[in-house]
């Protein structure tokens, strides 16, 4: 038995995304954001997108290009404070924004990836974020139902990938990537390094290949991936 090759060109992989798609994007700030695939999404111009991501990057980077190009209908995020364009588009009603507590966003995505329907939590119950969400009693305690999230597509940024789609992430670039890898119908991973099958030690794989549909080799690392001056 051998494992199949899922290497795909970036243009071809991104072309599978239709208008109106819901897209999960890994990344927390710069690390782990699939900047190159976002650029390709801007080039192809799919409209009406719902983006599920920790944050909206900063102005001039990543998700901001999609916002500037009018491709985004809705953001499901934990924080957009570093992107004034996202804040002002939200304030002006040009995009819809759904805020989640960060760890609950992670769990909702993971629940979708684990084939669960939802999770029960006491987080943010007594805040604006929890207002209006259904209550459920568990062992006598009233807690809140958060629904599982799934997406049409997940766009991941990996450090290393083999052709079957086994992935490893590096340092704090891991963040939401392995969770989103489980939670989308089509999972596309760009990778800084493509290594031969068998080079990733099986104990060290962060995302097992069966979750991944397309492996996209990065031919160069763009400026957005570099150290940001602040």
């Amino acid at each position: 038995m051998i494992l199949p090759d899922k290497t795909t060109s970036m243009a071809e992989a991104i072309a599978r995304i239709p208008d109106g798609a819901t897209i999960m994007l890994g990344g927390f700030g710069v690390p782990g954001t699939a900047f190159a695939m976002i650029r390709e999404l801007v080039r192809q111009g799919q409209k009406g997108l719902t983006i599920i991501k920790n944050d909206a990057n900063e102005q001039g980077m990543g998700v901001d290009h999609l916002l500037a190009n009018g491709q985004v209908r809705k953001l499901i995020v934990t924080h957009i404070g570093l992107n004034p364009r996202a804040v002002s588009m939200f304030n002006d009603g040009r995009i819809e924004v759904e805020f989640c507590a960060q760890g609950i966003l992670a769990e909702r995505v993971r629940a979708g990836g684990a084939g669960l329907k939802g999770i029960l939590t006491d987080i943010a119950m007594e805040t604006e974020i929890g207002a209006g969400k259904p209550r459920v009693v568990v062992n006598g305690e009233t807690v809140m139902l958060e629904t599982a999230l799934r997406a049409d597509v997940a766009l991941l940024h990996a450090d290393r990938a083999d052709p079957f789609g086994n992935l490893t992430f590096t340092a704090t670039a891991r963040n939401f990537n392995p969770l989103m890898a489980m939670a989308a119908d089509r999972v596309i991973a760009e990778a800084e390094n493509i290594v031969p099958l068998g080079e990733l030690p099986p104990d060290q794989v962060h995302t097992p290949g069966p979750f991944v549909d397309h492996v996209v080799p990065l031919t160069e690392i763009s400026e957005e991936y570099q150290v940001v001056r602040r």
């Binding site: 099986p202 097992p208 290949g209 979750f211």
Partner: protein, 221 residues
Amino acid sequence: MSAADRPDAKTRMLARAAREIAPGMVVNLGIGLPQQVVNRLASDFPVCLHTENGLTGIGPVQPHAKADRNLIDAGGAYVSTIPGSAFFDSATSFALVRSGRLDLTMLGAFEVAQNGDLANWKIPGKFSPGAGGGIELAQKAARVVVLSTHTDRAGNPKLLDRCTLPLTARACVNRIFTDLAVIDVTPQGFALVELADGTTVNEVQEATGAPLTLPQDIPTF
């Protein structure tokens, strides 16, 4: 090939079941008969075998002398890795199953009903070891096929009008491979697809506890 040279029905059933696996699939082979299907796959066949205790890319079973004490499949066999294998925890393993990444599972059965209900984990009063990972495999694999003898040891049908034993999952079985036939579960109930060479339609119908619909042509295996 003369009858004497012909492989026995079980061997032919395993070979036929192996053809159910399409290139590129992710497949879980249940304990017992299904696990024997792996020996019918060519060494260069592109398929990813999953075992629920935490491995994708199962490699060949190892002899005792070469076994790794930390590397087993869910049935306890000492297996191995292949290039591209990955290990993961039990939550991730079933995330793969429940989120639709498992293309096919092959399972054993005590009973299969004509609507696809499966019973394979409990015989009240006699056998109640727990279902392990069987419920999720049966309920969530994109395609569920059963490998089983057509009748039990006493000669009673295992393919029934309805199950009498506690269910593993409802309406989950797509296809059944037995020593007598290949049978599909359809909205109209059991449909004969293929006959084991040397078996007649009447023999299969008599060994089956529910009506069979018949195709125009009946290939053999």
